[in-house]
Amino acid sequence: MKTPRTLYDKIIDAHTVRTLDDKGLILLYVDRTILNEYTSPQAFTGLRKAGRKVWNPKAALMVVDHVNSTAAHRTDRMPDAGGQRQVEYFAENARDFGIELFDILDKRQGIEHVVAPEQGLVMPGMVVAAGDSHTTTYGALGAVAFGIGTSDIEHYLATQTLVYRRLKTMRVSVTGPPAVGITSKDIVMEVIRRIGADGATGYAVEFAGDTLYAMSVEARMTVCTMIVEAGARGAVMAPDEKVIAYIRGRPRAPRGAMWESAVESWHLLKSDADARFDRELKIDAADVAPMVTWGTSPDQAATITDVVPHPETQVDVTRRKADLRALEYMGLMPGTPIASIPISHAFIGSCTNSRIEDLRDAAQVLDGRKVAQNVRAIVVPGSTQVRTQAETEGISQKFIDAGFEWRQSGCSMCLAMNDDVLKPGDRCASSTNRNFEGRQGAGARTHLMSPAMVAAAAVEGHITDVRKFRSGA
């Protein structure tokens, strides 16, 4: 009898070119990469210096997303000279190495993790590795996906492989119906709060349970994207009919007889019933409330009905010091109700939460309401296609009517590598994934939450419970 295997192990086994030691080090075949303008240039320079070619240019896509402006009027000029040089070198590399490029003026441009699924470039059973930590997104489509650094991008481009150490496996099962108004963002933030910012370090996480399977593929992408904030080195979910329906008919999806064969093979992609995981975590969705971070690490989070914690209750000395430092940076007093913290900015965007469903959900909260006077509110669609769709559906108008700035697509204020930068002391309700010190601008303060929670905070001028905005809640 064969040893039962997890989905992660099955996919990795099917991509193992050779074994390199007896402790799980392998040469791993990688099916795809997506390249961006800021982590790839040195990889191409490395290839040029060594006189090497790209192994399979068709297995890569280049997308401009990190450094571009998101101003309403789109041009091919970057906000600064460094970004301009990066984008120019990016185009030069695309041309010289024969890789397809979605440049800033392309109708298919957007955040790489929004664009690749949109194009049907990611399929169940694939291994995808790319130069951005949030590559874990593609786990929602049944691929094993993970971020890599620039040296490994170069290794991938030259060899179509990576020297890879097999990970331990963790299954996160979320079960039961969530309360009204709870999003997948709240669920993943709860997971991160429970296991900590390094709780999944060294693990590939498989998400399971009826709660997530009742949710859309886009909602699952949010969960897979953000689990990297618990240190997960890969994420995966067994593909179901929703995933297959999501991929069907997309520009790069297989067609005809090949589609039928592909679907047949995708139906087999799941962990064996008795497969053993190195760690299991079970979450009852009914216990999840809207989540907000109060600190400078994604695990420093609380529910909307909580107060800012008292660091002295933290038993671990290192954690206590970190909590004190975080509260000092965030300018918060212990005991302050989370649902009273005033904001100066509201940001909806990022690979975590900028897809059409995210925008629909936030727009529903905003419908007929206005952004508070002292708040600057910005929405940056995840891709140019999402932007166009939102305009067609009339969602953009709801944002504009409420007082949000309706922007062009890009990573924008999630990491503030372009000109969307906050000032010291600014406090932002943000649908992004990292609340690190200085992430959205030196001295700026970030509170992570769902897009609907950002919309609600924008309206009230302070962090607030979105559930009271929900009809039927």
Binding site: A14, T45, R85, S151, F436
Partner: protein, 202 residues
């Protein structure tokens, strides 16, 4: 890649948990197309205040000039995949990091750039942090071949584990792409079979 043999120098403590790559290399230093000039970027917002060295930051204090090692808190290097963080640390002169856990992508980036990461139990890291915190007793010698950290202050020798492949790459300063390309025929054969099984991937 600079091979790692035996390195001697001061160690500094940076013990907060979850020191992320945004802190190690802030976004303003990510606008290059090469790997150069990143020493000034490393810990920039902590090292400098109003354009001048911040006297409160450990690397600016007496006894930490020419620092070669950092004793770090758990989950060091979490967050963004930016390899600029590792390039910056190397350009600052850091040759090894000692801690309880390192974030995955960051750890791989270190390996690919000859920056040694040493994982030890919390009590050993705490002991090393104790010496690193005293600028008069913070000289360590790391011998990768012997897998030892030697403390000048006490003449104590601490052993560490490292996987054999990683050790070999670091000591020889090998080009990983070149090593893999020795198996190009095997990759091609695998690829042909993979394409036969899943033509829709290609």
């Amino acid at each position: 890649m600079e091979p790692f043999h035996t390195v001697t120098g001061p160690a500094a403590p940076l013990l907060a948990p979850n020191i992320d790559t945004d802190i190690i290399m802030p976004k303003t230093f990510l606008k290059g197309v090469d790997r150069e000039g990143l020493d000034v970027g490393a810990f920039n917002l902590l090292r400098f205040a109003d354009g001048k060295p911040n006297p409160d930051f450990v690397l600016n204090k007496p006894g930490y000039e020419g620092c070669r090692f950092l004793v770090v808190g758990p989950n060091f290097g979490c967050g963004s995949s930016r390899e600029h963080a590792v390039w910056g640390l190397s350009q600052l002169g850091i040759r090894a990091l000692i801690g309880t856990t390192f974030a995955g992508i960051f750890n791989d980036n270190c390996k690919n750039n000859g920056l040694l990461t040493i994982v030890l139990p919390p009590e050993t890291v705490a002991m090393l942090a104790h010496y690193a915190s005293n600028p008069e007793r913070n000289t360590f010698t790391i011998d990768l071949a012997q897998q030892t950290i030697f403390l000048d202050a006490t003449s104590e020798e601490i052993m560490f584990d490292i996987d054999a492949t990683r050790k070999d790459m670091l000591i020889k300063g090998l080009d990983p792409v070149g090593v893999t390309l020795e198996h190009a025929d095997e990759i091609r054969a695998f690829e042909a079979l993979h394409k036969e099984n899943q033509p829709w991937f290609f």
